[in-house]
């Protein structure tokens, strides 16, 4: 029984081997297979390189766009809003030889025209009378470098406070800590219109009143 089983296994094995030898890849087909594998391998490599290059280029473009956008945004914020306010006059407060000084600086456009200067003076008068009435002046810190720029809530006055005065206010404990750009600030003035304190208005989310 076992002998006949072995014989049958051998017979099957012979038949299978013959079937296999009848159904082989020819040497030409083998060469084609190798060539196809190599070609596909090369193409896959190229695909990978292309994908990598495209990804890299996208990241570079995105970064470049981001940088440009940020720079434009920065310029908009600083130059357009701070240095070229269209309808505002600039009030500069500073200390020199322990003496408080206050200057009115019309914008460049307005220096070109006497009319504009006159308008600026009128605005200043109006705002000063407002100050006297209100005793408190509110504005938003729009740029915080050595000198601070604070735009009034009615956008008529841009107050520039020089570093010397900021330091003086700090020494007098008349300046809140942790003031950051965008904060709403309330000013306290004395009877001469000089800034004697600046307080962060936490309870007011936006310019009102």
């Amino acid at each position: 029984m076992s002998q006949s089983n072995n014989n049958f296994d051998d017979k099957l094995n012979q038949l299978y081997k013959k079937h296999k030898s009848d159904n082989q890849l020819s040497s030409q087909e083998k060469k084609q297979l190798i060539a196809k594998i190599n070609k596909d391998k090369y193409l896959k490599k190229l695909d990978w390189i292309n994908t990598f290059q495209i990804s890299l280029a996208s990241v570079a473009l995105f970064t470049l766009f981001g940088l440009l956008f940020n720079q434009r945004d920065y310029q908009n914020n600083i130059e357009d809003t701070v240095y070229n306010p269209e309808n505002a006059i600039i009030e500069v407060h500073y200390l020199e030889n322990n003496t408080y000084h206050k200057e009115i600086k019309p914008t460049e456009q307005k220096t070109k025209s006497q009319i504009a200067l006159q308008q600026a003076s009128e605005k200043l008068d109006r705002s000063q009378s407002n100050l006297k009435n209100k005793k408190q002046f509110k504005g938003i810190l729009i740029n915080k470098a050595d000198n601070w720029y604070i735009e009034s809530c009615n956008k008529e006055v841009l107050v520039q406070i020089n570093a010397s005065l900021i330091n003086q206010l700090k020494r007098n404990n008349a300046l809140d800590n942790n003031i950051i750009q965008g904060d709403l600030l309330a000013f306290k003035h004395n009877s001469n219109g000089e800034i004697i304190a600046m307080i962060k208005s936490d309870n007011l989310l936006q310019c009102q009143g």
């Binding site: 094995n13 038949l15 299978y16 079937h19 159904n23 082989q24 297979l33």
Partner: protein, 184 residues
């Protein structure tokens, strides 16, 4: 003389050594030697499970997968077992995609239930064998072909991800089926 010199210069390496070297270096000539060694075995196995076009296509895809996954080869046993595992899985994936796969993994198909057409008219035993092999259920044909390729029951179980007992049953049914028609 020339061939012995060539052998001395390029000593024969088994597939496992070649694959290990290829996995490390990625050298094309090593891959070519592997293709030379096993492309026919793989192609014939795939052919017995599908048709000429699909067998050629899957052969190519299998070798490309071997290239892609060459780093994964380390610590694996027989290269041929790995090659056939990759080849079989690739074939099954392709058959699923082509909806050709009718899930012929029915172990309960006994030899007596397999329909044979015009078998007795063929006096040529080789043609008879070819037809019988073609008519054998997919799972039994797979186990039988793998055994004829020299794989052990354990290796066939690994390649097909089945239990050894299942493989034994499939082989028993396959042999019984052949014996029924060309045995003796």
């Amino acid at each position: 003389m020339i061939s012995s010199l060539k052998e001395w210069l390029l000593p024969k390496k088994n597939a496992e050594t070649l694959m290990s070297l290829y996995a490390k270096s990625g050298k094309n000539e090593l891959l070519q030697r592997l293709v030379e060694l096993h492309s026919n075995d793989l192609y014939h196995f795939l052919l017995s499970q599908s048709d000429i076009e699909l067998a050629k296509d899957i052969s190519q895809k299998t070798w490309l997968k071997i290239i892609d996954k060459r780093e994964l080869y380390q610590c694996r046993g027989s290269f041929k077992t790995w090659l056939f595992t990759v080849g079989r899985n690739t074939l099954l994936d392709e058959m699923r995609k082509l909806s050709r796969f009718k899930l012929l993994f029915d172990d309960q198909i006994e030899p007596e239930l397999i329909q044979i057409v015009n078998l007795d008219n063929n006096s040529d035993i080789q043609i008879k064998f070819k037809l019988l092999l073609k008519n054998l259920p997919f799972a039994q044909r797979e186990a039988f072909s793998l055994q004829q390729e020299g794989f052990s029951i354990l290796q066939i179980a690994q390649i097909t991800q089945q239990k050894e007992q299942t493989i034994k049953t499939r082989l028993r049914y396959a042999k019984s089926y052949f014996k029924q028609h060309i045995g003796g």
